[in-house]
């Protein structure tokens, strides 16, 4: 029979775990609100950037000698995967889902005889990918959201990526992150950065509203400024979405954990009470039988 004291200890330990998980849930909820606001606030920039780029790409992309950032290097031998996940765990399947998506892609590419390079954003993506793709990892960025998630962090990643691209170290670049749909649903997404793929290629009619643009100084010059910037912006967008998703995932994971702890406490309390009653009954039987023996 379980010892009463042991049961008591277990109940109190589960109770303190529950306190921690419910506090984490509260913190995640507060952070989620901020992250969501930030993600929403950044949308106008990305949207307008996309609109500009769309109309530029439509006019300049067809010319010979267009930037390789736009049309690619003409090869697809070496792939760079930017895997953006969180720095911390305890957020359900959030990190594993992103990593799984990236791992599947990497395995498929390797099977197809391509070279794969991986850039990890976030400590968890590095930790998980290091096991199977140790020699493919070319760089990592940690502490993404510390002290706050700023554009400069995305710019650092973008600079690294662009430097590698210029040095001809890869042909195609894809970023993996979790798109924030709602608190309970985050969708791991792969988005191709290089060569540029307009998300809504059909949005070209943006031209019709203002007619054909004049470019100052020249369309190639603007395009060569805009394309690298766009990469930083897209990475930033991925990071913001990821941040919101992470807190959403953590919130629901911690909610579940709190509920599970509650159930466990109920079960243990019942067991504790049963044991206590059994002990009392035993003692009574002992007293009675001792009396009868006299």
């Amino acid at each position: 029979m379980p010892n009463l004291n042991d049961l008591k200890l277990r109940i109190s330990s589960v109770k303190s775990t529950q306190k921690i998980t419910s506090a984490m849930k509260m913190v995640a909820a507060a952070k989620l609100r901020r992250a969501q606001e930030q993600a929403e606030a950044s949308r106008p920039y990305a949207e307008r950037m996309e609109r500009m780029l769309g109309s530029l790409a439509a006019s300049a992309g067809k010319q010979p000698g267009a930037s390789p950032l736009l049309v690619g290097t003409g090869k697809d031998d070496v792939h760079l995967l930017i895997v953006a996940a969180a720095d911390r765990g305890l957020c359900g399947g959030f990190n594993s889902n992103i990593v799984k998506e990236a791992r599947n892609k990497a395995n498929a590419l390797i099977r197809a005889g391509k070279t794969v390079k991986i850039f990890c954003v976030g400590r968890k993506s590095r930790d998980q990918l290091r096991r199977s793709f140790r020699e493919n990892i070319v760089g990592t960025l940690e502490d993404v959201a510390k002290p706050s998630l700023g554009f400069d962090k995305a710019a650092t990643v973008a600079d690294r990526v662009l430097a590698m691209f210029k040095a001809g170290e890869f042909d195609v670049c894809t970023v993996f992150y979790a798109k924030f749909k709602s608190v309970i649903s985050q969708v791991p997404t792969a988005q191709q950065l290089i060569p540029f793929e307009a998300e809504g290629a059909a949005e070209a009619p943006a031209l019709s509203e203002g007619g054909i643009y004049d470019y100052e100084p020249s369309d190639e010059k603007i395009l060569s400024d805009l394309l690298p910037r766009n990469i930083a912006v897209q990475i930033f967008k991925a990071m913001l979405e990821n941040n919101a998703s992470e807190h959403g995932a953590r919130m629901s994971a911690m909610d579940n954990a709190t509920r599970n702890a509650g159930e466990m406490i109920d079960r243990l309390s019942i067991q504790y009470n049963r044991t206590r009653q059994a002990n009392i009954t035993n003692e009574l039987i002992e007293i009675i039988s001792a009396k009868e023996a006299l």
């Binding site: 606030a41 920039y45 990305a46 307008r48 500009m52 643009y213 470019y215 100052e216 369309d219 010059k221």
Partner: protein
């Protein structure tokens, strides 16, 4: 008939900073400042570090410093995408001077071209900021 105005929007990667109808804006383009009035010909331009002046009537109502970016102009709208933007009155001169000093030291300490370029860019930015603050 109401007076025609331009929808002016200033956006940074972090948020939408400014969005309202104005009479005229003057944007520091790469090839020189340009003013945007209603029914301006559509164009896209790069923006150098400098000051965007917003006019209401003939008066400058607001001056905002931007550290480079892009401007998209259509007949009724003017959108500026900027990396850093702050009101001219909010520029902290002492801090900028310090930055300029640091950048100059970086330039003399720089070992490779990339570091030199970064330092030069920072110097240009800080100088433009000081000019803007007057």
């Amino acid at each position: 008939m109401a007076k025609e105005q331009v929808e002016f929007e200033l956006v940074s990667p972090e948020k939408l900073l400014f969005s309202q109808s104005v009479d005229m804006v003057v944007v520091p383009g790469e090839d020189g400042d340009f003013g945007v009035l209603p029914r301006h010909a559509p164009m896209i331009s790069t923006v150098r570090p400098g000051v965007i002046a917003i006019y209401s009537g003939k008066e400058v109502s607001e001056r905002i410093f931007v550290a480079g970016g892009f401007a998209e102009v259509t007949g009724e709208r003017c959108t500026v995408l900027a990396e850093i933007a702050l009101r001219v009155g909010e520029i902290d001169k002492a801090a900028v001077k310090q930055q300029l000093q640091d950048a100059k030291e970086d330039l003399s300490d720089a070992k490779d071209d990339a570091a030199r370029d970064a330092a030069r860019k920072q110097i240009g930015l800080s100088e433009a900021m000081l000019n803007a603050a007057g």
